[in-house]
Every structure is written in C-alpha cells, then in structure tokens.
Symmetry: C2
Subunit: 156 residues, 2 copies
C-alpha cells in the first residue's frame, strides 16, 4: 500500500503520482508478454486496488486491468459502488471497461493515452456514468510509448 | 451437462431449449434476491458454461450472468475466443457485457427480452463483434415477466 499526503499537493501532482503506479502495473503485463495496460484504484489518496492486463495468461477476454481493479476495489471497500474512488489507467478504457465503470458509479477516471481503435469514446462518451469525471493525457507519452513499442515488437 | 441432439431439430426449437436453461439460471439469481438474469454458453449443442447475476452476493458490478458465462466458457474451451459458441441470455446484454462479447468474437447472441434502459443497443448496435449474429425475442414473455415481477416486488 502506498500513500501520498503532500501539504501543497495539486491534482496534477497526485494524478501523475498514481499514473506512475498504473504504469508499473502495465510493465508487469509487458513482462508477461501481455498487452501492457495497467490500472490502480485510489480512495482518499490511497491505492486500494491494482490490476494489469492478463487476458492471455488467464485465457479470459474479461481480464482487463480495469476489470480486475474494479473487482479488487469493491472487495476492499466491501460494497460494489466506487463513488469516492478514482481509476487511473494507462490507456483509455474499452467499451467493456467503461460499461463496468458505469455500474460502479466511479467518481473519476484518469487515463494516459487514447485508444484510437477500441477506446469507448469512439462509440459514445455517454457510456461512463453521468457523475463520472474523465481526465486524459496524464503521462501520455510514457503510456503511449509502452503500448506502441509492444505492438511494434510483435510486427517485427 | 445437458445435451440436445434431435434428428429434426430447428434453430428455433434448440434456441427455446437453451433459453429455458438460461431461465433456470435466472431463477437461481431470483432465489438469491439478485436481479434475475441468467445465461448459458453453448458449443456444438452442448452447454459448456452457465452463469447468473451475482452482483449483490459478490459485491461486484462485473458479476453479470454473461461475464461469468464467458469466463467459464473460455476456461472450458482452453482459449479466450468463443467463435463457435452461442450465448443465451434472458435479457439483452448491457454495454459492459456486449463489450466483452466483442472481445470474445462469439458467433451468436440470443437474448429473450430487450432492456429498454440499459441494453447495449440503446447506445450502439455496433458494440458487438461484426461477425456476431444477434437474435432476440426467444421466450420473450417468460424472460420479461421474471424481471418485471422482480422490480415490481421491490417497489411494494
């Protein structure tokens, strides 16, 4: 468990801090030869759940980083709603994960880089819950480079 | 495990047969005071996975009938794609579940009754995979009555 509690913190500082943690998760996926996407869920400036893409390892299309983080966060909280939580994820959620975030009523989604092909916003920006604030572009370059390099290495 | 192998079977006969099995799953959800939605996944006329809504029991918004059935079916097959499978589900999948079906590339989705509020087709019919055939209205009345009665009983 990691904490952040700066006197003079700003949202941007803490968003970058937690996105770095999501990037660490993404690198775990990379090490397992999975599409490198990572996520953390934060409540009261504390990471309460972590997840990284495990679709190949688990033979399960539902094993996206966000889905695992939602399940783990709800388990930690002891309730299925994540109304006071923020999801940090390195890549824009797909329709499945954005659909799950709707049900969780999560307070904020912060993602690093857009997914031009399969990001939920390609279908509709209204998939997330109306009470959910979505922020993008935090550590965008690092998040994008990680996934682009993975797909480029697969094409060699 | 249940089998169907009629000499003179038609798609409608077998679709009704398997939807009855999905309804049995939905009734298990009802018995647990969960929103009564059930699902089965069928491969070569054999049920390879079952699921019913367990979001309250598991405190997990991702625990929809379809999601559990997808995970179980992939486990049975030993691969994440369900290209030769049919999902039978009593109610139209939500955006999350339809998004999961996209990743699974499932061959067919057969659902009983529409979900006017949260069905994926309210957002976009293109959420499912382009190779997936969607059929609706199988045992529609039974599927609709079950869920309507549940919500009416909650309003008393």
């Amino acid at each position: 468990m990691r904490y952040i509690n700066f006197e003079d913190t700003t949202d941007t500082v803490s968003d970058e801090f937690f996105m770095k943690e999501a990037l660490l998760e993404a690198k775990k996926a990379l090490d397992a030869d999975e599409v490198p996407i990572g996520a953390v869920v934060v409540h009261n400036n504390k990471i309460i759940a972590r997840g990284h893409n495990l679709t190949e390892t688990l033979n399960d299309v539902t094993a996206h980083a966000e889905m695992q983080a939602f399940t783990a966060a709800a388990h930690y909280i002891g309730g299925k709603y994540l109304k006071e939580c923020t999801l940090y994820v390195t890549v824009e959620p797909c329709v499945m994960c954005a659909g799950a975030s709707y049900w969780s009523q999560i307070n904020r989604i912060v993602f690093g880089t857009r997914d031009e092909k399969r990001g939920y916003s390609n279908v509709s920006t209204t998939i997330v819950h109306p009470k959910t604030t979505v922020i993008s572009g935090i550590l965008e370059r690092e998040c994008r480079d990680l996934i682009q390099q993975f797909f480029q290495s697969k094409r060699l």
